[in-house]
Symmetry: C2
């Protein structure tokens, strides 16, 4: 069993085949799947799994801090299992490809007190935008 499943069970998560498959689909680096993509991959191993269960499970993993919800366009949210190493995202404006990146420095340090308007600022999400190598080569991309 993976570390993730181990941790979840340790936290009292009731282990079902559906939850196991969803957690397994999310393993790896630079994984940023939409809920529908997770559902499609999970359904390869467990054909009868429902969309509602995938949504429920993803929501729980996010609440537990095991998965990060990423929003880069107005489309579907993406789910990033790399929750235990702080990072930001680099997105291709043409094809949507996404990589985890680790900038030097902290964006929080760049927001002076007079720009905080009395907010208690706890974090910052950075999305770097550009063209990936494949789309740079592709003419007209």
């Amino acid at each position: 069993m993976s570390d993730l499943l181990e941790r979840l069970r340790g936290r009292g998560w009731r282990m079902t085949s559906q939850r196991r498959v969803v957690a397994e689909v999310l393993e790896g680096d630079h994984v940023h799947l939409t809920a529908d993509e997770v559902h499609a991959r999970a359904a390869q191993r467990l054909p009868e799994i429902s969309r509602a269960t995938v949504y429920n499970t993803l929501g729980e993993l996010v609440s537990l801090g095991e998965v990060i919800e990423v929003v880069t366009d107005g489309r579907a949210r993406r789910y990033d299992p790399n929750a235990h190493h702080p990072h930001q995202h680099l997105v291709c404006s043409a094809c949507g490809t996404m990589r985890d990146v680790s900038p030097t420095g902290s964006p929080l340090a760049d927001l002076p007190a007079e720009e905080r308007f009395g907010f208690t600022v706890s974090g910052a999400d950075v999305t770097y935008r550009g063209l990936c190598p494949a789309c740079i080569r592709r003419p007209g991309a």
Copy 2:
């Protein structure tokens, strides 16, 4: 007529009452309305304006670079008329209130070449997250 309407007309934008009302609704600082909010406000002045027209007009304003589309959650996109001064956003995690902020430094400078994976990086959006003064005071927020 406002500067915005002046500029649009100068660019050959055909001026209709609908477009005028949408552009007027978007005036001001720290304005981040959803399409539905824009529609509701526009409809106060022009009750028969349709949703499709609001979406069309917002899309054109974005294409023309007069308005910026902002995505902070998986919900509705927001429209920010502050397109001529580079800025980032500060969002309250509890109530969604949003302010424009101007961090010192450039996030791009924090992304070293070895973290760019061959991408041509052209920009970075930063979303600072925290609690606004009202939600800090409100217990349980």
